[in-house]
Amino acid sequence: MLETRNIEIYYGKIMVVRGLSIKVQKGEIRAILGANGAGKSTTLKTIMGYLDDQPEKGTIWFNDKRIDRLKTEQIVPLGIAYVPEGREVFPELTIRENLIMGAYTRSGDCSAEIDRVFNYFPVLKDRLKQQAGTLSGGEQQMLAIGRALMSKPALMILDEPSLGLSPLLVTEIFDIIRTINQEGMTILLVEQNARKALSVAHHAFIMETGRIVLEGPPDKLMKNEDVQEFYLGMQQEESIKGYQRYKRKKRWR
């Protein structure tokens, strides 16, 4: 459904993404994991057409249509919704207006969608007229996801949806992700919470300094020692107890 072929992305002269190829099949949840600064958000932004003149090399395809070099406003109507990193709500608009904006590309009445969002996130319903900027961090995250749902996209791209959410809500959000996926929506997910991400994904990529270094179904990845150590934090106990700070840098080179 979505595919990037060997894309390279530059910030000025610095190459941030180096020949990245990923595929997302229809009906799937795919996750991208990776350390800070690996280039995950950059990749998503490029897919969404945010970065002018990027990708420098390579192509991006959505439903057999080439979408690299299109403008964001041309990409969204094709059926892609995007939840940016760090919430990015419209701070001075009310929650209701925020949601309406989510349905900008769709014509007609959207009250049914609004109800659906309130069904997922009842908190928002009580705050219909509150300015979004005064919501707590987590509430804003819910609004951002809800807003993306408004356009009934075929593919939803989420950048760290669990950022700043309480454990209970993280669970809920992932439940919701699973639900909407079962309702037929394809999902591409960038996450730091590897455990959760792997628990819902059908397929995952691990990204380091602009490259995919590992990919496969979650159960396979879970067995990988490095993944266990760096993303799932399974071997942390002893090192904490020993008050020892050690870091294995330069992996997968």
Binding site: N36, L135, E139, E160, L165, S166, A194, F230
Partner: protein, 256 residues
């Protein structure tokens, strides 16, 4: 007398009660965590302590002094430093300058001294050198040397969080407020952060008040945990007590 004593704190925003009658005592040298669902009022507590919000009632005694009604810069002068949930860096400046701004309070040169030096030996220049050294030490400690001269807006999220932490440290506070210090980090980075938090407490001799959603981390490092829901206290106690509290399980942790 506790190091930080919050008593009966209450605040509301146009009908919405964000905090109602919250009390807590933080002892010197503790790592004290506040947990709670989204919108519980955790950040609001921070904002009250650091003078950004003015609570409707209650008192906040910091080292015996009333904080309610103080301006943020006064709070800073009294030794309270903080980081922000959504990162508030001086985005056009380099990491170095950001940290130097943390030293602002400890520097003295005014307009006259600042504008009239010609060599190393003028007071303003000497002061500048001194503080730059301090900042270098913090940069080294947090291992963000590579970011030293980069404008912070070009740094990845996780590094920006570190810079913000560094800036707070540069203030040499006696109380450090950390709002979700590890949000957006992966396990490995979180683990580093965990060490740092401990090291900071030990090496820099500060008391740490922290809001965090990562339970592993909270349970590991905290001496005391305060759980909050809808602006009301759920429980307070050491990790093992809070972890098994049914209220916390239900409202916050979920069945995991």
């Amino acid at each position: 007398m506790s190091f930080l004593a919050i008593k009966d704190l209450g605040i509301s925003f146009g009908g919405l009660t964000a905090l109602s009658s919250v009390s807590m005592n933080v002892e010197k040298g503790q790592i004290f965590s506040i947990i709670g669902p989204n919108g519980a009022g955790k950040t609001t507590i921070f904002n009250c302590i650091s003078g950004i919000y003015r609570p409707k009632r209650g008192s906040i005694l910091f080292q015996g002094q009333e904080m309610v009604g103080k301006k943020p810069y006064q709070a800073a002068k009294m030794g309270i430093a903080r980081t922000f949930q959504n990162i508030e860096l001086f985005s056009h400046l380099s990491t170095m300058d950001n940290l130097l701004l943390g030293r602002h309070m400890h520097m003295k040169s005014g307009i006259l001294a600042g504008s009239t030096f010609l060599g190393r030996n003028f007071p303003a220049a000497r002061e500048e050198c001194l503080h730059r050294e301090r900042v270098e030490r913090i940069i080294e400690f947090l291992e963000i040397e590579s970011a030293r001269d980069m404008p912070v807006s070009a740094l990845p999220y996780g590094t920006r969080k570190l810079v913000e932490l560094g800036r707070a440290l540069a203030m040499e506070p006696s109380l450090l407020l950390l709002d979700e210090p590890t949000a957006g980090m992966n396990q490995e980075e979180k683990r580093d952060m965990m060490f740092w938090i401990r090291d900071i407490r030990d090496d820099f001799d500060v008391t740490i008040l922290m809001v965090e959603h990562d339970m592993n981390l909270v349970m590991e490092v905290s001496d005391e945990i305060f759980a909050l829901n809808f602006g009301i206290k759920l429980v307070q106690g050491p990790p093992h007590v809070v972890r098994n509290d049914p209220g916390v399980l239900e409202a916050y942790l979920g069945r995991d």
